[in-house]
Structure formats: C-alpha cells, structure tokens
C-alpha cells in the first residue's frame, strides 16, 4: 500500500529512518512521504514513534540513521532553527507561546521588525500580524495578550507564526485534543484553505474519525515500524485499527491465574473535574473493584484519564475530585498521599525520575524513604536496620547494583524501577497502583518486572496497572478496563480480550461533526 499521488507533489521524503534511545529502538527503518497540498495523517498508539519521527523532521534529534530528502535534495538539520529555515514548522500539542506577550509579539518573536534607531517597530509588527490573521480568518486584535485567548485561538496564532516563517510543511501534533467542537470546525476549514495554498500538512492524531474528514492519506506506525501507508479512500476505520494493533505476543511472560478471592479495593463513582472546562471531567464516574491476587489492567490512549484516575485514588486531587473508596469493604478517606500510604495504597508513577526517585540518594535510602519509621530506634536511624531492609529487597527483587550505597541515578532504568517498587513494598501495601511500569526499559528488564508483578499478585496484593502497550496488558492483566476521554468504555476478562476490541473501545467517540463537515 503506497500513497497514490503525482510525483511532482512530493515535497519531503524520509527513507529508512531509525533511531534508538539507550538500546531501545524508537524508530526502525521508517519511510514517509509528504505531499504538498494534502493532509498527510500519521496515526499510531502511544509510543509508536510518531513524536520521535517528528523530532527528527524538525531538527530536534540530530543523530539518526536514514535519509531525509527535501525537494529532491538530501538534507540533515543540525538545529530546529535550520528546519524552520527550510520551511518546516511544528505546532505542538502544548502550545509554545509566551503568555504575557501580545499576539503580534509572539508571531514575530525573534524576528522583530526594527526601525532605524534599532527599536522595535510595533506598528509594522501589528500590521503584518493583522495580514496573517486575516488570511487565517481569525478576528482578534494583534495587540491582545496571548494568555487571554482561548486554546483554539492560540493554536491559530501558532499557525500564523508558522505561516510568517513561510512554512511549506506544517506539522500538527494532536491539534484537536484541547479545543471545542466549534474550534475544531474552524481549524478544519483553515486546514483546507492551507491545502489549497499548497501547504503540506502533517497531521498526527489518534482520533480516527477525524481522519476521514480531513486527511488525504494515512500512515500507520507501530512499535517504531511503518505498518502501512495509504490513500484515505482506500481504507476503512477497521483497517486502520487492525494496522495499529496486531503484534506478536509470543515472547511475553503471561501472568498465572489466581484463585478468586475477596475484594481488596473498591472504587465508586470516582470523578475528577477538568481544570479548565467547567462541567467536564478528566475522570468521569469511574467504578471498579480489585480482588486480592488480581491484576486489573487499565488501557487508554493519551488523554484518557488513566494517570489522573490513579492520582485521584492516591489522594493527589482531594479538592477537585469526588467518589468513594473502600479497602477491605471499609470506607476510607484519602485526601493526601500520606493518608493513602497509611491505608495501604502504593503508587508507582509513570515518570520514575521526576516523581519516583530522589536521584542523588543511595539505593538504601531510596528503598527506605517511604517507610523510614521502620529503621528508626529511639528517634535515630539505624544504618544497620536500613541496610538490612535494603539488602533484603535488593535480593528479593533481584536489583542489580554494585552495592546498596550506590547512587540510584547510576542504575539502569529497569533497576531504578525495581528500587521504586521496593520502596513501595517496604510500606506493606495492600494495593499497588502501577502507571506504565515498563516505560523506557529494555525487553529483559520488562520481563523481570512482569514476573515480579505476577509474584506480588500471588502473595495477595491487589494490583492496578496502567499500560498503553496492548500485548503487555493482555498478558499481565486478569481483567482489562478500557478508558476513553475519562469514561469507562469497556471491560474484558483476559480470555475475552482481543487487541481490536480493546483498541476500538479506546478510540474517542466524542467527535460529532461528521455530518456538518462532510462536503
């Protein structure tokens, strides 16, 4: 399946792009063709390699294998600025505007017009911005402070910035994730007009419905590999889902079944309000149970509210959330991590370096951090007790470290993750919440972590594991709950679950513009 198009429409071609991070392949021989005057969509799960590929195209990553051909010439960008100079602009999901500068100042940031005294020529800046905004049909005052605009408007300011750079290729990363339906409509019209002007759009999304309204071609990535690329007329929704999933599961460690036992954790009607949109929820009335010895998998795409659900259970959003928690059928109040830990809940966060570890600490101190009272006698820490505790977990979890005095920063990702798990086990939890426990660690270490999770469940812990890797969640979880845009959309037992059925439930359905926009 290759895109059918006129060869002279081809503006950028990437050939055999590969990129590794610390031994893990993020991209593996990916080919990509971008045509001008078309919307070239790229889809794939979280971690499929979309953003790595975009970072290579925009000069963020300099070291990679493969070729990039722009207008028929081989090219390699040394800096993002160089990519910009060649007419490649990217509009990030998190917008890159300076909130306290005006629209015009943002659009021409770094390239201000100056008068003959070397001072900024505000008049010209504003006039030029006005021209650009008019082209984009955005009726706002260029002197307005950016922070006072809505997200959708800010996005258009970013597009204006891209156009002011004479961008010929505009990359949009999940542009509809934070904007209202009306704004989506405006954005799509804008994209159509850019197309007509011959701009090439690279459109990254996982909202498949959008593709059929706006995209001309679609490229699917999975696990850093190109799965296929096609004209949008030649594929169906189901085809794309099938291309996004469908991996080998043969190498996976599969969790042993456990006998049914009693319920440990029960979550009732958990809600977390949206930080900006009123009457909207990031976590929307979620209820579930976890039994002792059970691993409940939570699957969802970016923005599904998985991490937020775990954070809410752990007491990180006491003011913005509602709902009830029961542990061993007793109602518990959790308004802070301190209370969560006291109740027997442990939370292994997604980002070990930012949230899980104090990197300068030793292995021993890190393991003991959440349960220091256990190594204390008469108000003083006993290093012997601390070492004993740490040594115990280093052996039990097979943590590879030269000594327990080693600084955790120097350990490998997999072993750092084990240290985090050890820290939580030392608090004697009844429930472990795991958020992407194998993110960024290599295959062998992953298998070790799976085995560990399985062992912990066998010992009677209840485990809630968030993962965006389908084969992983299908191998480790006894039950799988699917979240999409904060809501529970499906639940499967391991035997019922198929990759397609899970993915189908995970893809957001809220997009309701089908009829109004099809022209």
């Amino acid at each position: 399946m290759t895109a059918q198009c006129e060869p002279d429409n081809l503006i950028l071609q990437a050939k055999g792009i590969s990129k590794s991070f610390g031994g893990i392949k993020a991209l593996d021989g990916v080919d990509l063709e971008i045509d001008k005057g078309r919307v070239n969509a790229i889809v794939g799960e979280n971690g499929a390699g979309k953003s790595t590929l975009m970072k290579i195209l925009t000069g963020v990553h300099r070291e990679y294998d493969g070729q990039i051909i722009l207008d028929g010439h081989n090219i390699a960008f040394a800096t993002p600025k160089e990519a910009q100079n060649h007419g490649i602009a990217i509009i990030h999901q998190e917008l890159n505007l300076i909130p306290y500068l005006s629209v015009a100042e943002n659009v021409f940031l770094g390239r201000e017009f100056v008068n003959r005294f070397g001072l900024i020529d505000t008049g010209k800046t504003v006039a030029e911005t006005k021209k650009l905004l008019k082209k984009l049909d955005l009726d706002i005052n260029p002197r307005m402070q950016v922070s006072r605009l809505r997200i959708g408007q800010q996005q258009i300011v970013e597009i204006a910035h891209a156009l002011s750079l004479d961008a010929r290729i505009v990359i949009m990363d999940e542009p509809t994730s934070a904007i209202s339906e009306h704004e989506i409509k405006v954005l799509f019209e804008l994209i159509r007009s850019l197309k007509a002007q011959g701009v090439a759009i690279v459109y990254i999304t996982h909202k498949l419905d959008e593709l059929f309204q706006i995209a001309d071609s679609v490229t699917v990535l999975r696990d850093g590999k190109l799965v296929g690329s096609s004209s949008i007329e030649d594929v169906t929704h189901e085809d794309i889902v099938r291309m996004m999933v469908g991996r080998d599961i043969k190498d996976f460690f599969v969790k042993a079944d456990v006998a049914q036992s009693e319920e440990v954790l029960s979550v009732r009607d958990m809600c977390l309000s949206h930080p900006r949109r009123r009457d909207d929820y990031v976590v929307d009335h979620i209820s579930f149970n976890v039994k002792a010895g059970e691993v409940l998998g939570l699957f969802g795409l970016m923005g599904a509210g998985r991490t937020e659900l775990l954070e809410t259970i752990f007491g990180l959003h006491p003011k913005e959330s509602s709902g009830e928690l029961f542990l061993d059928s007793r109602r518990i109040e959790v308004n802070s991590p301190i209370e969560a830990i006291k109740s027997g809940i442990g939370f292994i966060t997604e980002d070990r370096k930012r949230e899980g570890l104090v990197l300068q600490m030793t292995v021993a101190s890190s393991i003991g951090l959440a349960s220091l009272e256990r190594t204390e006698r008469f108000g003083f820490l006993r290093s012997a007790l601390e070492s004993q505790l740490a040594q115990d977990y280093v052996e039990r979890l097979r943590i590879k470290t030269p000594s327990i005095k080693q600084i955790v920063e120097n350990l490998s990702g997999g072993n750092q993750q084990k240290v985090v798990i050890a820290k939580w086990l030392a608090t004697h939890p009844r429930i472990l919440l795991l958020d992407e426990p194998t993110r960024g660690i290599d295959v062998n270490a992953k298998n070790e972590i799976y085995r560990l999770i399985s062992e912990l469940a066998q010992k009677g812990l209840g485990i809630v594991m968030v993962s965006s890797e389908l084969p992983e969640i299908m191998a480790i979880a006894d039950r799988i709950m699917v979240l999409s845009e904060g809501k529970q959309t499906a639940e499967f037992t391991r035997s019922q679950a198929t990759e397609e059925s899970i993915m189908k439930a995970a893809i957001p359905k809220s997009f309701q513009l089908r009829h109004s926009l099809h022209s």
């Binding site: 991590p337 959440a370 003083f380 820290k423």
Partner: protein, 325 residues
C-alpha cells in the same frame, strides 16, 4: 586508570578541606602572626556566629530554599534579650512592670527568633510565597522591628554574667566555640541519623517524589525555617554577649556571609546535596581569608573584592568537578 579515577574522586570529596589547608599554609608563610595560638582562637571566635547562621542556612538550602532574613532576625533577637534584661517590660496602661532574669530574657529572645523563622515557613508553605521573597520581606520587617525596639540606639551595659558566653573561656576553649561546636555536632547527627534529616534531603532532591512517598513536605519546610530562625537567635545571643551590647545594625549583611559559607562548602543551591561539615569548612575558609588579609594589611575594600572572587572560584571548581547535566 581506576586508581587515578579514585584519586580524583577523593580529591573532589576533600577539595574544601584541601583549599582550607592550602590557605592556612600560604598565610602561615606570608603573614607574620597568622600561625599563632592567639590568632587561632581569634579566627574560631569570629567564625562562630557565622557558623550558627550557616548551619540553619544549610538546612534551608538543602530543601531548595533560601533565607535572607537571618541577619535581621539575629539583630532583633539579640536586641530583645538585651532590652528585656536591662529594662524589662513596662505596660504603663496597666501600671505593670515585668523584670526578666538572664535566663528569661535569653529564652524570650530565642523564642522570638524561632517564631520569626516559623513565620517565614508559614508564608512559604501556606501562601506559596517564594522563599527569596518571603525572607526578603522578613529581612526588612525584622530590621524595622529592631530599630523600633531599640529606638535606633545601642542597648549597652548588660552585665558580666551575660558577657560570659561571648567572652568567657572554658577548659582553655572560648565558650562561644564550645556552643558552636555543640550546635554543629547536633545538626550533623540530625541530618545523618534522623528521619527529619533524611526528609530534608529528599524534599530538596525531588519535592514531588518526596510528596508522593508520603512525606509531609510542608511540615518539613516549616520546621527547617523555624530552626533557621532559632539558630539566628543563637547567633544574636553570641553577638550581643560578645559586645555586651545590642546594636540596631547588628548582623547587617550576615545573610550573605552565611550563604557564601554554604555554597563554598559544596551545598547545591538547587537543594538535596550538601552537608553541615562542608558548610563549616566554608565558614572556616571565609574566616581564615578574613584574618589572613587583615594581617597582610590588605585594604578593607580590596578584601571584599578578593572574597567575592574566592566565592566564584570555589563554586566554579565544584561545578567543573561534579559534572551536572
């Protein structure tokens, strides 16, 4: 190769100590009268006040904060001790007069310092005011209160007993050096051997991870600023006792010397890394430098310039050796 690396690591670990020894050797050679018993005690006595402040500052900086108010709190605490001791408290409206014993006056002074530190902590944790701003405000507030309390003039004539801490000797060692050594010993143990100490490092190293590990981050910070205030008050006690008077300008600019000591001692301003012993070395380096330059008759203005460059040099060497990303 490995041995070479180890040697370098050891060198890095003891670089402050080496720098101190080097300075002592150089001044002993160049400056007549530097390497004498009298000067030895003089330097230690001069360093003791800064050491008190710097120990508190170390705690604060380890949590990733800063305390600019230590000098002002020192002044106010000292003035309150002196004022209460000499004049007592008078409430003409109620026809009430309270006189204070030495112990009472000192206690109230120490409590004042602790309270102001606690107030700093409260502003920082409860109202989320950045430490720099909160303690900058306290720098002005406490200085103003000192001037109000003293009426802008020194409170003098506090008696011999009160002067013992600042001028007396015990077992051949100045009393203030004993006091200082005691404080250092206590905080070395606190930081190394108690949960609180460990938590101080954790909060500064990664506040988010500390919070998620169930640490009460706000309470730890509150305690740290309170201790910094209390230690400033101890500094105030030593200064007032040494001069046998409390002046409204006491401790002016001391916050900078104590930050310098902490930084020279290898504590990272971003928190989580450093030690009290390092800070002591930093304070000693500043003290030895001061003394050496005075003995060499370097003009006072030049002394400041040189001190500034020493701070830059110390931190630059530290940064070069511990490659931070």
């Amino acid at each position: 190769m490995l041995e070479l690396k180890n040697q370098k690591q050891i060198l890095v670990k003891f670089q402050s100590l080496l720098a101190l020894l080097l300075m002592v050797v150089i001044f002993s050679i160049c400056a007549e009268g530097f390497f004498t018993k009298d000067n030895f005690w003089l330097v230690l006595r001069q360093v003791s006040v800064n050491t008190c402040l710097s120990v508190g500052m170390t705690l604060v900086i380890l949590t990733g904060g800063i305390d600019l108010s230590v000098g002002s709190i020192l002044a106010l605490s000292g003035a309150i001790m002196a004022g209460l001791l000499k004049n007592g408290l008078e409430f003409p409206a109620f026809n009430l007069f309270i006189s204070f014993t030495l112990f009472g006056a000192v206690t109230v002074g120490l409590m004042t310092g602790s309270f102001l530190g606690f107030f700093n902590g409260l502003m920082i944790t409860r109202f989320k005011i950045p430490p720099f701003v909160a303690t900058l405000a306290m720098l002005t507030i406490a200085r103003g209160l000192t001037e109000l309390w003293t009426g802008g003039a020194a409170i003098t004539g506090l008696g011999r007993t009160f002067g013992f801490l600042g001028t007396g000797w015990f077992l051949g060692v100045p009393v203030q050096v004993w006091a200082c050594a005691g404080i250092v010993a206590i905080f070395v143990v606190v930081l190394r051997k108690t949960r609180f100490g460990r938590y101080v490092y954790a909060v500064g190293g990664n506040e988010r991870a500390a919070k998620l590990s169930g640490l009460n981050v706000n309470r730890i910070k509150l305690l740290v600023y309170t201790l910094a205030g209390a230690l400033s008050a101890v500094g105030g006690l030593i200064v007032t006792s040494k001069l046998n008077s409390a002046t409204p300008t006491a401790g002016d600019g001391y916050e900078l010397d104590s930050i310098a000591a902490v930084v020279i001692g290898g504590t990272s301003l971003s928190g989580g890394k450093g030690s009290v012993l390092g800070t002591i070395l930093g304070a000693l380096i500043i003290g030895v430098l001061n003394s050496g330059l005075i003995i060499l008759r370097v003009p006072p203005f030049w002394q400041k310039v040189i001190k500034g460059f020493v701070i830059l040099l110390a931190v630059a060497i530290d940064k070069l050796n511990t490659k931070e990303p």
